[in-house]
Symmetry: C2
Subunit: 168 residues, 2 copies
């Protein structure tokens, strides 16, 4: 594989404004994320962050509602894949297949979730499978931190399927 | 163990109005559940159902948002334990420890989730542990159905801890 093919197979992380546009689209298309106050966080290296204020996501104990954390982790993982697909193509539908979540400690403030590829996963293999078979799978890790410690951890498998071309 | 002790150890399923009151409390204390349109479903045998309309929980594909389904399954499982604790005591805090979810098929209408004890679990052992050590664990299954088929399945572990008596 030469350098040009390699670059084509693994697009660089998109710019931060791509995440801001994606979050605006998510808030428009999934009303519950607007109710959560979903916001774009940072894009750093190979990770993607989403945030939400505590007030609309608080539970009966005064800390973050587990359902909000689960939603935010799933959205961050989905967004990590979606942004790469937007940068390179093909146009796909991306679905979560299954997820496992550990709730380690409460989150007593703003919800901040970071998603990254799981160990052993790589974008080149994902795009190669998509190109060859129209379908690719990825395992993503997402984590919410509080006071510098992990508060919730998710491991989730996603599948991307090439969207059918619209009949014109 | 005689019949009286047994009845005390395992209280019967609470009446439907207890679930209606619990859902009103959840909607008041967890604002996102009001945004979801959370409603009490049926209490049948040893299972508890929660419901929510599709409109506030729709995703970009027109079916139910995975985060809403995950939230609803976690709430139904939590409510199953909370109602039994209300009926028998002691007063406890109930937390989710970890959960695994399989997303099998989309839900194209009202979200309906049913929670029940996992195989091998029983209320008597849970209350015995609570009475002896102030702490009990339970594994709960929750499922969303669509068109008579399972759409999402959750297996989650919860811990209940006896609440400390308030200083007066």
């Amino acid at each position: 594989m030469n350098a040009v093919t390699r670059r084509d197979a693994v697009p660089p992380m998109p710019a931060a404004d791509a995440l801001v546009r994606l979050v605006a689209r998510i808030r428009h298309e999934i009303p519950l994320t607007a109710a959560m106050g979903l916001e774009a966080g940072t894009l750093a290296g190979d990770s993607l962050q989403l945030r939400a204020p505590l007030a609309p996501n608080v539970n009966d104990k005064g800390c973050a509602f587990g359902g909000s954390l689960a939603s935010l982790m799933t959205l961050a993982a989905w967004a990590l894949i979606e942004l790469r697909l937007q940068a390179r193509g093909p146009r796909c539908e991306v679905y979560v297949q299954d997820s496992g979540i550990d709730y380690l400690a409460p989150v007593w403030g703003e919800l901040r979730v970071t998603a990254r590829l799981a160990e052993g996963e790589d974008w080149a293999a994902f795009f190669a499978a998509l190109d060859a078979r129209g379908k690719g799978r990825l395992t993503i890790l997402a984590q919410a931190d509080h006071a510098g410690m992990p508060a919730t951890r998710m491991r989730a498998r996603f599948v991307a399927k090439r969207a059918l071309a619209k009949a014109t």
